[in-house]
Symmetry: C2
Subunit: 307 residues, 2 copies
């Protein structure tokens, strides 16, 4: 009766807190998940969740099954990787380039998990800043870029392949006493004559400029800082605004150090992919890197949507 699919659903519910979001994550409708967990509850004749308009809360029984899921699912992953390994000896190297600065936040746990899963693969970060990271793939200086899709990839002649990771919202960050502190969301105009604090990368690599400010022809100043914490300090001390991934600023917002607001009517969303040559992306361990990123980020980062 209990199946692994149920355990995966439980994990997704735990990570999202909501049936609807969890359903997306396991590629089902919200209704299907509702039926699924109801069937479990009926089978064991015990309540697994407290339902409310805010989502689901695990009861002790639900928690017990969730514990089981957290115990079993990693073992299953490990076994499945071993099966791949049994098919042929898998070894190689994997040099990663990050397009986006903030991604360092979660890359460490990802690399730890990867090393555990593929001890025979040498995984490394390509150091330094690169204006065109995708180019490194063709030059043979890197194996995987983690970032958005390069324009070249849309062309058919490209020899690059990509695996979807997740999308996330880029939020405007402002000081707690900013004039606009009571607005629900910011528009392009709200940035007029403000100072935008960014990482030190070219304008065409900063989504809020490329997709919001440039199209609306907004005048603004710019100032850079290397580290997220430095950007936060500048914003908090009213030197300007920033636009950063929601998960990168979460802890600062929670402690009321700064405010975060969606940008534009639908919010500003950015997509992340693992990109590499066709040859590289066909390898099991490259596919698995994408999988590990999705898994780790789904667990650690709030508010992302898996692609």
């Amino acid at each position: 009766m209990l199946e692994i699919r149920h355990l995966k659903s439980l994990k997704a519910i735990a990570e999202t807190g909501k049936l609807g979001l969890a359903a997306e994550r396991v590629f089902l409708t919200q209704s299907a998940l509702s039926h699924q967990i109801r069937a479990l509850e009926t089978h064991y004749a015990i309540t697994l969740f407290q339902r409310s308009a805010q989502g689901l809360r695990f009861t002790p029984a639900g928690q017990r099954l969730l514990d089981l899921a957290n115990e079993l699912l990693p073992l299953i992953d490990k076994a499945e990787r071993d099966l791949i390994r049994l098919k042929s000896d898998q070894s190689g190297e994997l040099r990663i380039v990050l397009e986006c600065h903030t991604c360092f936040d979660w890359l460490t746990p990802v690399m730890d998990a990867f090393r555990r899963a593929w001890p025979e693969v040498e995984i490394d970060l390509v150091a330094g800043f690169h204006s065109d990271p995708w180019h490194l793939l063709h030059e043979g200086k890197a194996d995987v870029v983690i970032g958005g899709l390069p324009n070249a990839l849309s062309e058919k002649n490209s020899s690059l392949n990509h695996l979807p990771l997740f999308k996330f919202e880029i939020m405007a960050v402002l000081p707690t006493d900013h004039i606009l502190r009571n607005k629900t969301r910011l528009t392009a105009q709200d940035f007029s004559d403000e100072t935008l604090i960014t990482y030190p990368v070219p304008e065409d690599r900063i989504d809020v400029i490329k997709q919001v400010l440039k199209p609306a022809e907004i005048q603004f100043n710019r100032r850079t800082a290397e580290l997220t914490i430095a950007i936060m300090q500048l914003v908090a001390s009213r030197r300007g605004l920033a636009a950063l991934p929601s998960w990168g600023i979460q802890s600062y917002v929670q402690h009321d150090y700064v405010l975060a607001k969606p940008i534009g009517a639908k919010g500003l969303w950015s997509e992340l992919y693992a990109i590499g040559t066709n040859e590289m992306m066909a390898r099991p361990y490259a596919k698995d890197l994408a999988r590990i990123i999705r898994d780790v980020c789904a667990e650690k980062l709030q508010g992302i949507k898996l692609l």
Copy 2:
């Protein structure tokens, strides 16, 4: 894709060595199991078994999934027991009487497993020999009898309930140099004027006498011994024949200490149940005792059939 049901199937295949027998154990047809494992092999694109006319042999990949099964299934059992426990505090006692002498062989691991699963239940063996063990249930001196069904249980007015365990074959045991050593199977007549060596229990509790020798009105002598090893020694030194469960004598047969032959055309089969009052058998831990016996015996005893 991989589901717990697959792991249960793998375990059954490992225990039986044959698809057909494994299928019975998981309540499927042989065809269903064949489809099931074929689907797994297709999914992982790897061979899990070497097929032959003797059954299935695990490949390294199959073995890896079997290892996973052996790792996961006990954890699942534990979680499911915890769910039962969460529904209401479960405690009590469970005094077991064995109808059959040989059952001591597997009762120790069963009781160990039970104590691990239900630490708050006091499980005990009722000592001594009892001519009518089922009577102890009504007297409140025992909670569960492990043995055959008493005649009284077929009557409707009985307040006893029973849970099926397994059936097993009772084999004739003879010295390696016995005249009949080349027969494939023994008949009632073959026991004529032989000495039958048994445990010291009444004739009507010995299946081979009750079901084979008495109906055929065979004349035979009888001699008793307390321990299986003693019976084996007597048989090996040509003092007589015995009739014992196939699993009880397996190691002696393997070492060519004695010979074992089926009795009668279809063999002599005996069924084992866990019997207790309705009230007792409704308790989760009593049901679970039956389950644990089935599990442990399915794993440890060759040639049994779960009921």
